[in-house]
Structures are given as structure tokens and as C-alpha cells.
Symmetry: D2
Subunit: 284 residues, 4 copies
């Protein structure tokens, strides 16, 4: 019997950065949090504590700061591409670099009806994410959104499902459908207009959720994924995870009242959950 090394990586998480661009009469800010992981030949480091091939996490962090000085404020995807190029160029021992980025949404304050030149308010609970994997030959770019919470009060039913002896659920018509959404999509190589694409995909997700005649969480999820692949032909694959926030109508009959779908009890935590991956394939 022997013990074999499977996969291993190391790196640094939570590298926070605020980048300010100061132009006459207008400042821009971008706050982002990076995680970076290396794969490579680290057998000696793991089994013998031989550190010669280990670039310290502290150095990885410094590199983020130093490179951020050299590049103008740009999208997290672009900056991650610079990081990957740097690390692969100067670290032969590293075969794969993973970079993840999460952006904080600072929005310009409206002051007397006009946008402030230099003041911002944190605007959103949802997060814009990016996830890149770089190897010598190729780098893949995935973008995404997390904590996108949607809710609709119409066009949401759940009927005709399988029943067994433990089924007590009643058919849902005129219900509420609400979910926290995590999405993650893969661009084909060569894509570079990351910011407008991200906003377009987010809007497609939101609009397809709103329009869809939902017959289930899964049904809506699938439709949202299709809407993205159908509208953005440079996206090769999308992964969606929906965590359903249950809103149960409160039973007011003990108090002599009806409840015509007006008073709902929001669950404290999501419970129903579904995920799907859809891929574009070339016709043969």
C-alpha cells in the first residue's frame, strides 16, 4: 500500500484593494477582493517542508498591490489577466493560476440631482464576481453574480408534482416565487468587453425571471439559463444555482379572516435549492 498525492494548491484569499483614479473634477473608485491559488510541482514542499519552490502568500499579496499601481482602473477580469501573466512568466514551478475576484459596488452619490465628483455610497447587496484559470496555453474567464435576490408575486405556480405518503404540500397558484441566485458563466476565448457583457447578462437573468410563467423553481432556472445562452453567443456555458426563499401564506382562519394571497410569512433561510449547467454545442 502506498499513499499518493492527489490535487493540491495554495495561495492567498481576501486580498482587498481600493483603486482610485483622480482626474480633474472626477474621481473613480473600484474596490475588489482577490483570491489567488497556485497549482504546480509542490511535492517536496508538502512532504519535506522544502520551501524553495514556494512563493510566499505574502509575496502574492504584494504583487497584487504592485501591479495595481501599473494598470489603470479597469475590470477585475482584465486585472486578473495581468496577474496570471505575471505569475506564469516568473514562476516556472507554477502550472496553473486561479484568480477569483469579488467587487464591491460603490455608486456615485447624487448631490442636488447631479452626480458627485468624489463621493460614493455602497449600493448593492449583490456581488459581481470573476473567476479565471490560467495555464501556459490558455486562460479561461468566468464571470458571475452572487446574492442576486429576486421575487415575483405573479406568474408562479407549482402543480402536478409527484405525490407519495409523505406529501402534504398543496398546489400553489398565485404564489410568490423568490430566490437568491448565484450565476457563473464561461466566455469563449477572445472576449474582452467584460463590463458591458456582465451588465447585459445580469439584466437578461432579471428580465427572464420576471417574464417567465414559472411552473417550478427548476423551470424558471432553466429558462433563465437559456435566456443567457440565447442572447449572448460568446458565452459557452452557464451555471445557475437558485436557493428558494419560501413565502408561505399565513393561515388567518383561526382569527376568522381569509387571506387572499396578501399576508405571507418569509422563511428565515432558503430551503429549496436547484442548480443547472447549460452548454452551447456546435452542431455536427
Amino acid at each position: 500500500m502506498t499513499i499518493r498525492l492527489g490535487t493540491s494548491d495554495y495561495g492567498v484569499t481576501g486580498v482587498r484593494l481600493l483603486r482610485v483614479t483622480r482626474q480633474e473634477g472626477r474621481h473613480d473608485v473600484k474596490e475588489t477582493q482577490y483570491s489567488i491559488r497556485f497549482e504546480g510541482d509542490f511535492q517536496a514542499a508538502l512532504s519535506q517542508g522544502e520551501n524553495r519552490r514556494i512563493l510566499p502568500p505574502d509575496t502574492i499579496k504584494n504583487t497584487v498591490y504592485a501591479l495595481s499601481r501599473q494598470y489603470p482602473v479597469e475590470s477585475a477580469e482584465d486585472f486578473a489577466l495581468h496577474l496570471i501573466e505575471h505569475f506564469l512568466t516568473y514562476n516556472r514551478q507554477v502550472t496553473v493560476v486561479h484568480v477569483e475576484a469579488v467587487e464591491d459596488a460603490w455608486a456615485r452619490i447624487q448631490q442636488g440631482g447631479k452626480p458627485s465628483a468624489h463621493s460614493f455610497v455602497r449600493s448593492n447587496a449583490e456581488l459581481r464576481t470573476a473567476r479565471l484559470t490560467g495555464e501556459s496555453e490558455e486562460t479561461t474567464v468566468r464571470a458571475g453574480v452572487e446574492n442576486l435576490a429576486l421575487l415575483k408575486t405573479a406568474k408562479a405556480s407549482f402543480e402536478g408534482y409527484l405525490r407519495d405518503p409523505y406529501t402534504t404540500l398543496k398546489d400553489v397558484r398565485d404564489g410568490i416565487l423568490s430566490a437568491s441566485i448565484r450565476a457563473d458563466w464561461l466566455y469563449e476565448s477572445g472576449v474582452s468587453d467584460f463590463a458591458p457583457l456582465w451588465h447585459g447578462v445580469r439584466q437578461a437573468l432579471v428580465e427572464s425571471f420576471a417574464e417567465h410563467e414559472s411552473r417550478s423553481l427548476q423551470h424558471t432556472m432553466h429558462m433563465m439559463a437559456e435566456a443567457v445562452l440565447g442572447n449572448f453567443d460568446r458565452i459557452q456555458e452557464i451555471h445557475l444555482e437558485l436557493r428558494q426563499n419560501a413565502y408561505d401564506p399565513v393561515d388567518l382562519s383561526p382569527f376568522g379572516m381569509d387571506n387572499p394571497a396578501e399576508v405571507f410569512l418569509p422563511a428565515e433561510e432558503p430551503s429549496g435549492v436547484a442548480q443547472v449547467t447549460l452548454r452551447r454545442e456546435e452542431a455536427v
Copy 2:
């Protein structure tokens, strides 16, 4: 020696509620979380477990649901006033009712450039709060905001402070000022237009933060409080707490680079903190 009862209260927290109003072609939703506490003569319940004067938390919760059916979607302050009136009327043993409300911000989805009739996205990290205290004679109404995070890249200095042997801080000019803000203000009695007032106060807080030539966190905090009392004469008192999010310029000199206030390291947690209460007083 004797043991004396000081203050005591009991109640229920986290009573979640989604209220839907369905009009032809347009649904409205409001999601709110209520906490309710009673003060009163509960000595026998406390010391002997004599429950005759204890309205169960479960009943308090049911009351929120039942009353929410009877009133149209309205501001949390208005609904809290109904709750207080109900509890004081039917519960002689209760002398004080505290109601706290926190609102979730569901914003209407834009669909093809037009607002959706029935679909919503959770829009904000910040929270709208209300805090009412009802007694037989009088009810006080406080409104507030939590988690309002602001940041400015200009008009922020910190100089001329006290130095002692443990002082290593350098003067700050062209720095970044960022804070998470909790505000809480007291309306004079008779105020009823809670929603427009809240939006006005929030905007006054945000604009005064942006405009102010800040010499310190405290200085800006005081100015924000003054701006609210100065612009809204039906507000009698305001309490502000600012938790400063430090953004330190990264020292890039070890890498042979300068850093002209462009690359900042956001602290993970707030550290500086300040609070103030300002009150309006009649001239004598």
C-alpha cells in the same frame, strides 16, 4: 440585604412579514421584520412562574399577522402605531410597548426599460428602521437607517491632533474617509408623513457627508447631525454612530514605486468609531 427587581421586559423578535397589495396591473410588496417587547407588572411571572398576566410571544406574533391583514400596505411606523394601540387597549397589565421594525428594500425590476408590474429585486445593503415606544399617554416615534456605507476621496484630512509617546500616525491629507453609518432620529408628536421624511433625511445625511470639508470623523458626524436638525424642524433629536472603515495607502516604496493616493488597502473591519446625540431646544 434584599434583592430588588430593576427593569424587565419580554416579547418576540424576528417576526417576518411580506405584505402584498394586488391592484389591476400593479402589485406592491413590503417586507418587514418586527420585534415587540412589553414592560409591565410581571413580578409574579418572574418570581413564581405565575403566567396569568403573560400574553405568549406566540400570540404577539399572531397579532402582527392578523392586524397586517386589516391594514393596507403602509409605512412600518404607521403599522407599529396600530400594533401599539391594540396591545395597550387589550392588555392592562402592559404599561409600555416597544416596537422595532426593519425593512427589506425590494425595488421594482426594470423590464425593457419599464417598471415591472409584479417583479422585484432586493436593492440595498442598507436598512430602513423604525423604533416606537408606546405608553398610555404618549407614543414616541424614531426612524433610522443602518449599514449606510459612504466613502469620499476628497475633502478629508486629519491633522493637528494630540500626540503622545505612543503616537505614530502621520497627518492625513487627500485621504479617504469612509464610514458605516447608523442614524436614529426622533420625530415630534403629530408627524405622519414618514416615508417622504425618511427619504429626505437619508438624502441630507448623504449629501452633507459628500460636501463637508472633513477634518475628522467626529467633525463630519457632527455636521451630518446638524444638517438633519437644520433642515427638518419636526425632528427633535438625532443620534449618529459612525464606524470608520480605514483605507490605508499601500507603501509601494519597497518595489521602487510611488503611490500618489491611488492604491489603498481597505481594512477588513471598522475600527475608529464615534457617536453623537444632538437635540433641538427651545430658546428661553
Copy 3:
């Protein structure tokens, strides 16, 4: 009309510190997080941004580090007393110093049945807290515990409570009583054996919860507070807050099963809540 300054303070939160004592064959560690706030004459700083009387939060933080080098590992209360003395001595402009401390519980690892000399595991979800307020004449010391979660499966009922038209609750016998507890008690002046006292009070809270024939959350809370004041005569006052974690028996009758108090549904968040303050008073 004039605007008057009410209370105000400023300071620093989240000052983290790990203190190691290295003796031959045995290391000790204590990790603590301090918050420090100053009250005093800060009118000019607030209204004019005049910082001459403001000791920067950064300096306050440095002082914690520097003083921690000068004192051996000791209880947070003792160290907070040193901090207060330092700040009041060297800062005439400060009239009140508040220090709060929260301790992380690192427990010694058992290694081959014996305690390790230098390795530790984070042992507890609950937190030991201290809260001191120092003025020129007097310093008050409060100690406490947070997140102490207790649960009992016997000696817990809730009956004979007030009923109104919104009451649907059924009497509870053989129920489960569970609560998350926050306690905070005031020592008389001169107390100095903080560590054994804290452990004694915590044990008194836990044992009285277990023994008590509970008729309600409030009943148990009051009994716990009495147990502390009854057993520790150098404690002048105790404040307790219990947040009840509801455990509802699952209704298995739709599946043709009974449920003899065996299967319970834990609520996701506390809902019932109660608090009390008890004080010791001299007989007249």
C-alpha cells in the same frame, strides 16, 4: 431655537491582541479583543474640527500593544484597569474611559492523554466579556458571558398564560426549553479575583438552568439571576437576556405516526426574548 450637544464619545473597536507567555516547558496564550471609548470635552473637535484634544484612535490602539508588553498575561479586567489608569492619567481632556473586552477561548490540546505544552484548540462558541468604566473617582467593573446556549428536555412547561382571540398556542408540558444567554454582572469595588469568580458565576447560571422547574422563559431567567446574587455576595447587580430557541414537536399525524416528544423542529432564529436586571440592596 438652538441645537444642543447631548452625549458623545469616540474611540476604537476591534483591537485584537494575542499575548504569549513562554516558560520552560509551558507556553500560555490569551487572545482578547478590546474596544475603548473616550468621553470628555470634545465640543471644539465636533463643531469646528479642532483636533488638539483628540488622541487619535491609532494611538489608542498602539497604547494597548505597548501596555500589553509591560504586564504579564492576566485577566482582561486587570489589563483594562491598567489601560484606564494610563488614559486618565495622561489625558486631562478625557473624563470617562470605557473599555470592553471579549476573550477567545483557546484550550490546551490533549496529546496522548497529557496537556500539550504549546498547542491549543479553540474550544467554545461562548464568549467571556468584561466591561469597565473609569472616571477620576471610581471605576466600575462588569463581567459577562455571551452566546451561552443551553437546552433542557425535562422540567419545562408553559401553562396558564393569558389568552386572547389571537392565541392559538397549546399548553406545553414535557417540552424543550432552550435559550441563548447573555449575562452581565457588576462587581462591588475592591473585587480582584476575576477569573475564579467568572467561572463560578458561569457554573451557577448553568446549574440553576438545569435544576429549575421552569414555568416560563422569564421564570427560569429570574431564578438564574437570583442564583447568582444569592451565591456571590460581591456581585451587586446582574442583567440577563435570554433569547429562546423554539423547538416545536413535529406533527407526524399526517403520516400515521405519533410523536411522544421525540422529534422536534429547531427554529432557525431565536424568537421569544426576555430580559431582567436584579440588584442587591442594603436593608434599611
Copy 4:
């Protein structure tokens, strides 16, 4: 071009359960949280909202409650095996069932030096986990631990690492090594004594961390994984993730003080991170 379905699953998360066993003079409790996901042929549900093959999340939840009545309090792994058998037997449309379980650690209260018959305190920040995947032919069982935080003040260095122009780190000797650990290991088929095995593995992880002469986070991680595979021959694979909590010595030289590895600044969040998978292989 066509769009192809990749993987998809659905289910329910956060199914909380407290199970009480009442014997004369002794109650036992076990609180667990289950997540259950189904894979199978759900194409019609996804693309057309055809729900005939969808067992509702609500029914899955009910099944957990109903089955928990039928089985005595036992380990989460055993109960998950019952769930998997049930779902695969009665749901032909389901090809794979995933069950995840997280246990809350309720420990018996010590009362007058003896264990209480019916009262418990939540004892640990760390979590015991189980992760099972059931298919018609075979079920795999993985157990694990999360949030296991360890710290050592000796036998921890980091030297001889790769340096580049962005390296500013100094060699670490007599440092502090601390990490939050997530472990997950795979049992060979036929294992059934889950509780003692779990406690054994956890102790092996803890002891190997304490004993090890660490040259890096990775080095210690690898040694911990080896210790488990070396001592438990029914474990086929282990995955470890360590998130390093940095403790930096505070520079007290600006205050004219040295710091002989006594005063450390704990980082607020983990930053260094490493993971590894080790597998046992048959010699050929």
C-alpha cells in the same frame, strides 16, 4: 448550434432536526441539519415545467421527519443511509441521492460534579459533518470536521522560500502557526462504527498538528493528512483545507520596547490558504 444540459440537481437544504431519546433517568439529544439533493432524469421538468417526476422539496423534508421517528438516535451517517435507501427505493426517477449532515455539539451539563440527566450546553465552535452519495449500486460515505481552529506557539518556522522583487517577508522562527481546518475523508465500503472513527480521526488531526515540526502551512497540512491515512486503514482518501490565521508580532520599537515573541496581532480574517488530497493506493 444547440444547447445541451450538463449536470443538474435539486433538493432541500437546512432541514433541522432535534432527536430526543428518553430513558429512565437519562435523556439523550442529537441536533442535526440535513441537506438532500437528487440527480435524475429531470429534463422535462427543467425545459417544460412538467412536474410529474418531481418529488417536492417539502416532501423530502417531511420524509426526514417521518424516518427520524422510526430510527433511534444514531449517527448522522447511519440515518443518511436510511434516507438514501428510502429515496432510491421509492423514486425510480432519481439516480443519485446526495445527503449532507452537520451536527450541533450539545454536551451534558456538569451539575455538582455529575453529568445532568437532561440538560445540555452547546459546547463547540467546530462542526462534525457527513456527506453521503447513494446510487443504485453503491453508496460512498465521507465524514469530516469544519471550523477546527488550532494554534501553536512552538515548532513553527517558515524559511528558505522563493524570493522575487515583491518579496518583503522575513524568515519566521519561533512564530505562531494557526489555522482553521476543514477536513473530509472517505471510508471504504462496509465501515459502520462512524462515531468512534470520527473521534479518532479528529484526535489524530489535532495531535499531529501539535507534534509536528512545521516548516510551512503546507508541510503541516500534508503531515496531518498522512497521520490520518497512516492510522486509519479503512480511510481511503482525505481532503484537507487549512486557512491560515496570521499572527504578526507587533513592532514595539517605536515605543522603545523589544518584543520577544510575546505580543502578536491576530489578523481579522484568514489569508494564507492551502489544500491537499491524499489517497491510499494498492501496491501493484
